[in-house]
């Protein structure tokens, strides 16, 4: 499984531009060939082109609902709140028109209560998201679920603010 990392791709692009600038005199145009300065192989230039192929901008456009890939939940609940339905609809439709993409749906819970019960609850959350993506056109073979229960908190705090962040399902795109 190759995981797409748009930030990394973007970083390569920036690096390519910076390094190409360093490797040339100020009067020369920076371009793909200039990136050969990294290691003499031009690897950075090919990285920048791949980012275009992945159309990362569409998924990363902050104005697009697709840029939101975290769905939050109430305590002990796997009910998708109404405000997340347009987001999941957009992801379902995007997946329907981009069969080359797959999404791993990660279910998480907060730390409260028992760990094994939370592992099962995390799976329920991932599957609740999966159902809505399927209803909006994603194909079953594009979607996988995994639960981490309470084992991977984004915020290790022991308070309501941390718990609210940790009760989540995350859409992880890959090809």
């Amino acid at each position: 499984m190759r995981r797409l990392n748009f930030q990394t791709a973007g970083l390569f692009l920036v690096l390519a531009i910076i390094l190409s600038g360093c490797g040339t005199t100020g009067t020369e145009q920076s371009g793909h060939n200039g990136a050969a300065g990294i290691d003499g192989s031009g690897a950075a230039a090919s990285g920048a082109q791949r980012a275009q192929l992945f159309q990362g901008t569409e998924l990363d456009n902050p104005a697009s609902p697709l840029s939101n890939r975290v769905i939050r939940f109430d305590f002990d609940s796997n009910v998708i709140k109404p405000e997340y339905l347009p987001i999941l609809q957009a992801h379902g439709e995007y997946l329907a028109t981009h069969p080359e993409y797959k999404v791993s749906l990660e279910g998480h819970t907060d730390e409260r209560g028992s760990r094994e019960y939370n592992l099962a609850l995390g799976e329920r959350r991932a599957k609740a998201v999966q159902r809505i993506l399927l209803l909006n056109g994603a194909a079953a073979e594009q979607l996988g679920t995994v639960s981490y229960g309470e084992e991977k908190p984004v915020d290790p705090g022991h308070n309501e603010a941390a718990w609210a962040k940790n009760r989540r399902a995350v859409l992880v795109y890959y090809q």
Binding site: S114, L119, R124, G149, H158
Partner: protein, 430 residues
């Protein structure tokens, strides 16, 4: 495979908090009303002997206090420090109201190390109940102290004390973006911690085999939950459940040949019985709800588990042959993670009360439930093999703690405060 074995060869090393970053403190707080009063005199160091590296009487005192069945007199209240029966003035101890007195001494052994002797005395009968002499190397003094605690407990209560048993727990340590997860085995008083698995992925639900030779656990190292069985002494291990979906909540059958597991390979999490020798798998529950956290009754004939088939999580009981599950818990809207006492009579669990998660005990005969701890984030109760003490994890301020509480609701003690997060303690069998 991220597998780290660490062996500790000298007890002296244990005193340094370098092996794991665990920092163990044993504060003794609170009274023990109704427990048997006992006095443990400091063991006299005879002339010619170097002071042993551990305070034997203090270790015994902590062991006995933690059961909740005995109330050791604070050392400062001891009226004398006798080292043998011949030095004891029993009437003085009767006046103090103690039922039993432990005395002992340490003398040099000609072969190196120490000779340690102790006597357990009945204050009212002015007689000796038990007494032994041991030869011990300096690095085994702590182990010897636990052995003496065993003799005292078994003499007074007629059942094993289990003070030489071990606990296993999971600790996690965050540094920047990286989190390290470790499976740790330690003595029952949290000393002598040894890492048996280190991973950058979460580890869950350690469970001792009945013979203490294996630990089953859940590891996410493969990108999802899978169940492994690892031999404690060698570190050798194998994955025993790697189906699609959840593989978790391993529980050993009393004879150690089968594991009860939670699998969601067919959609919803249900409980299965895995035969470890044949690999044969049998589905026990068939519900669209969450069924998880199975434990076996000591007779091996029933499985007790958590299910939300009634709406919220509650504890149920089911015959190993299947059939209708019987609901056991009715107090409160959240009861989960059952643990059963060695005699099969008590059920400890995580119980929510006023928004706080506490440890509670249900008596399966009287059906009375008692809340033992204050929360707010207590979980993972585990019975000591002597059945008197529960070990659990909780959060105190921002710190994770392992704590013990007497099932009789008398002694409430923090076993230790650990700098990294510590969770899921589980006590080994005898």
């Amino acid at each position: 495979m991220n597998l780290t074995w660490t062996f500790v060869l000298s007890a002296l090393i244990l005193l340094l908090p370098t092996r794991t970053s665990a920092q163990v403190t044993i504060p003794i707080t609170g009274g023990a009303i109704g427990a048997l009063p006992i006095a443990i005199a400091p063991f006299r160091v005879e002339s010619g002997a170097a002071a042993p590296p551990e305070d034997i009487a203090a270790i015994i005192q902590d062991d006995l206090y933690r059961t909740g069945l005995l109330a050791p007199l604070p050392r400062k209240d001891l009226i004398a420090h006798p080292a043998s029966l011949s030095e004891v003035r029993f009437q003085d101890w009767r006046a103090l109201g103690v039922d039993n007195l432990v005395v002992g001494s340490v003398s040099p052994d000609p072969d190196g190390g120490y000779q340690v002797s102790f006597e357990l005395l009945d204050v009212y009968k002015s007689s000796r109940l038990a007494g032994k002499r041991y030869r011990v190397q300096p690095n085994a003094v702590r182990t010897l102290a636990h052995t003496i605690s065993n003799v005292i407990f078994e003499t007074l209560f007629g059942r094993p004390g289990g003070f030489n048993t071990q606990i296993a727990y999971v600790e996690t340590e965050r540094s920047g973006d990286k989190t390290v997860h470790r499976l740790v085995v330690a003595d029952a008083d949290a000393h002598n911690a040894q890492i048996i698995l280190s991973s950058d992925a979460p580890i869950m639900s350690p469970a001792w085999s009945p013979d203490r030779q294996y630990i089953a656990y859940v590891s996410f190292e493969g990108g999802r939950s899978e169940v492994y069985v690892q031999e404690v002494a060698s570190g050798e291990r194998r994955a025993v459940a790697s189906f699609n979906g959840i593989n978790s909540a391993p529980a050993w059958s009393p004879e150690g040949t089968q594991l009860a597991l939670t699998l969601s390979k067919d959609g919803d999490p249900n409980i299965y019985i895995l035969n470890l020798a044949s690999g044969n798998l049998r589905q026990l529950t068939h519900s669209p709800s969450i069924d998880t956290e199975p434990v076996w009754t000591p007779d091996g004939r029933q499985i007790i588990f958590t299910s939300d088939r009634g709406g919220g999580p509650q504890v149920y009981r089911l015959a190993i042959t299947g059939g209708e599950a019987e609901r056991l818990t009715f107090e409160g809207s959240y009861n989960a993670r059952p643990a059963i006492s060695p005699d099969g009579r008590l059920l400890a669990m995580v119980h929510r009360e006023n928004g706080k998660f506490k440890i509670a005990v249900l008596d399966l005969q009287t059906r009375l439930m008692r809340v033992l701890t204050d929360g707010p984030l207590d979980e993972s109760p585990s019975f000591a093999p002597n059945g008197a003490t529960l070990l659990y994890s909780g959060v105190l301020g921002a710190k994770a703690v392992l704590a013990t509480v007497s099932v009789y609701g008398r002694a409430h003690e923090q076993l230790g405060i650990f700098r990294p997060d510590v969770k899921e303690p589980t006590w080994s069998p005898l």
